[in-house]
Chain length 206, copies 2
Amino acid sequence: MSEITSRNRIHRHKDRGHYDDPTIYEILDQGKICHVGFTVEAQPFVIPMAYARHGNALYLHGAPNSRLLKQLGSGIPVCVTVTHLDGLVLARSTFHHSLNFRSVVAFGTARHVEDLAEKHQALITITEHLAPGRTRVARAATDEEAKATSVVRFEIEEASAKARSGPPIDSPKDMQLDVWAGVIPIAVEEHEPQPAPDLKPGISYA
Amino acid sequence: MSEITSRNRIHRHKDRGHYDDPTIYEILDQGKICHVGFTVEAQPFVIPMAYARHGNALYLHGAPNSRLLKQLGSGIPVCVTVTHLDGLVLARSTFHHSLNFRSVVAFGTARHVEDLAEKHQALITITEHLAPGRTRVARAATDEEAKATSVVRFEIEEASAKARSGPPIDSPKDMQLDVWAGVIPIAVEEHEPQPAPDLKPGISYA
């Protein structure tokens, strides 16, 4: 359970806010890309990154001389947000149009992972999160490759989830308008695997 | 063309960076949710918000007493990021796994829209962007409703786009491994409209 503080408290639509770990972890686990926010000399940056959750932490990775990763791992305050768009909410009035969504905003700090064993484990965790099962078939990272990757571990100090679902909520006076109302569901979908043009013959996608 | 400065310059994978307006605008126009970053007392916040582009600006909106909107419109530095995930890139080696994506990171400042006519126009722009055609059928916002909404206009000062597409790029030594390699395309898709349970009978989705 995330403690509720001035940093993560939901102010608008309090009924849409959640602070329990299972809700927060489920939303985090269903995303592939997070948006990482940090501040350098008063300038905020928001960078999309692959990630994976491990317990109450998120692993992020990148190139070792990445400006971003250097900043991130230096212990500055970081905010990581994951959002899923679930639907367009079409109301009878323009005013009550909305979006169905689930999101998590997490606050914490990140540190560089230096230990080679933890780094290997983090890279496996990220790859398995992005493409489940792949670390069983793909060649594992060598120590050289792990050393050539920067990994940071973002420890979640506080977080909140926010979600809207369900049909539009129009004003009573608008209910008799001859306007279609409802939801257009939106989903992120995986399509037919496309083999690499240089794939060795005879290997099929498992 | 966005000027290239220390703020928006792409450092990693320079070949994946773009600074031209058409590329940046196209990526912005294809998203429904952006991630808005700003800093309050050294703490970064990253908040998902609906948006729409109008020329070189993005309109964002929310409740008038929203803490977020108040901060955003006060002229502080803001970073807005839009990301599309296009595919999982499965390489023969764990190390070369990647994601296909398109993203824009935009820097600028936001100001509150006070003019009622511009506010109405902004709300129409946002609604049309989220659900094209809806402002022709849904009841238009009244002046009261527009006054009950906070709108901020984020002027893009600098931006950069970054994109990866295409198959995995493995090391030559891994090309003979018996491992499937390729891309799993990912797309955001709209599904069959779901009428509101209280929809007036006889109205079909146009």
